[in-house]
Amino acid sequence: MGDLWSGLTQAFWLVVTLDSELVEIALRSLQVTLGALVVASAIAMPMAAFLAVKRFRFRRPVIALLNALMGLPPVVVGLVVYVVLSRSGPLGALGLLFTPTAMVIAQVIIIVPLIASIAHQSIRDLWQEYHDLLISMNVSQRQKMQTLIWDARRALLTAALAGFGRAIGEVGAIMIVGGNIDHATRVLTTAIALETGKGDFALALALGFVLIGLAITVNLGIHWLGRTEREGRW
């Protein structure tokens, strides 16, 4: 009990005094996660739109696979990315292992199926609504996708949020491919794991608070963005 209390007070001071190590780790977390989010969205949104409008032979299996991949264990993703990026692996020459880029790659793989699946559902619903009109207007495949992505943007924001939530709290994969190296690849989640292991609950707790704070702030920020864009109800 005493441990927890002293940990909490120390954590509080670390946060309010903007402890430099804490800030560095938090910023790296944000950087890696937002980077992964941008890349993943750029892949997942068009993919979702494509799956909604394009009839092709393996459409259903692909959608089923995407849904299944949502449940992909991050640790396994980390392991695979590790093997691929390790010195003797196929992409070893790039020297990406134990860099933030490797962490971004792992997170992208983890959240693309999640974002694409959620996005696909809302785009598919919108496509049902728009189908007759767009067909009648002889809209090209590309224009269809653009129209759907743009008009479903609020729902897609929610999909992106889910991806952000999953990525920022992820620890297994980025621990493996990032290595949790001080001043290089240490992020909030891996630092918490480390500090907890060392018994430094104060720092671990402080990191935990920051992690929660970050997640909430980004969520609110994105929600606010979607809200202010236009007050109309759709």
């Binding site: 919108l126 609504e129 728009y130 007759d132 009109l133 067909i135 009648s136 207007m137 002889n138 809209v139 224009q143 129209t147 008009d151 479903a152 236009r230 109309g232 109800r233 759709w234």
Partner: protein
């Protein structure tokens, strides 16, 4: 101009899940003015219009336009029975068909505002289209269909659930479009509207063309007993 008329349907049939919805239909429309399709609920009006526009699949038979089918469809527009509202503002909805065709944003939006005024939505330019009332949505759909100056416009019950005033507004717009050379094929339940707009009448019953006639002749002296009964407002089966 594509010169898409006359259009000829030969044994045109739409079947779904083993049931025949429409057909076989043998019919030639020469595009002389406005063709009005009437018939009881479920008689196949919507399906027939969709078949003509290529928005429903033909199971057997043919539909031959005077020009290439693809070209004909491209020069047409369709106002659906329940209008599709893009989740955008009224102005953006109107500009959409032009933007799709690559018209620059400024020009497209200028035309959109012009058309908004013509269909009586000038005061609602920035309102999200999905929140418009039913009548406003119909007007928007009509403006959005006419903005790309189609040669043939399909209208599937454009005035269902509209009050007298809105109906008159829409008919005025249609009459103007017709005067500009746009051909119209529309379905309606409103016999008054059919009388006001039709040059040719197609009377559908259970998926088949029961009677085709010149409007005046059809309304003055329908040939079949069913058409007579339908015009009187009796239930026809």
């Amino acid at each position: 101009m594509t010169q898409m008329f006359p259009v000829t349907l030969s044994g045109a049939t739409a079947r779904r899940q083993g049931q025949t919805l429409v057909g076989p239909v043998d019919l030639t429309l020469d595009g002389g003015g406005t063709c009005v399709v009437i018939g009881p609920n479920g008689s196949g009006k919507t399906t027939l219009l969709r078949l003509l526009h290529g928005a429903a699949r033909l199971s057997t038979g043919r539909i031959d336009w005077a020009c290439d089918t693809e070209l004909a469809h491209r020069a047409q527009a369709f106002v659906f029975q329940s209008p599709v509202m893009l989740r955008r503002t009224v102005e953006e909805n109107l500009a959409y068909p032009l933007r799709i065709k690559g018209e620059p944003k400024k020009a497209a939006h200028a035309k959109a505002r012009d058309w908004a005024a013509r269909v009586g939505l000038a005061g609602l330019l920035n309102r999200p289209a999905p929140v418009l009332s039913g009548g406003e949505q119909q007007k928007l759909a009509l403006g959005r269909a006419l903005i790309s100056s189609p040669e043939l416009l399909f209208l599937d019950e454009p005035c269902a659930a509209l009050d007298g005033r809105s109906m008159r507004d829409i008919e005025t717009i249609l009459t103007e479009a017709k005067a500009q050379g746009t051909k119209l094929i529309l379905s309606t339940h409103d016999m008054g509207q059919a009388r006001r707009l039709a040059d040719t009448v197609v009377f559908l019953l259970r998926g088949k063309v029961h009677e085709v006639a010149d409007a005046k002749q059809f309304f003055d002296e329908p040939e079949t007993a069913q058409a007579k009964a339908f015009l009187k407002g009796d239930i026809v089966e």
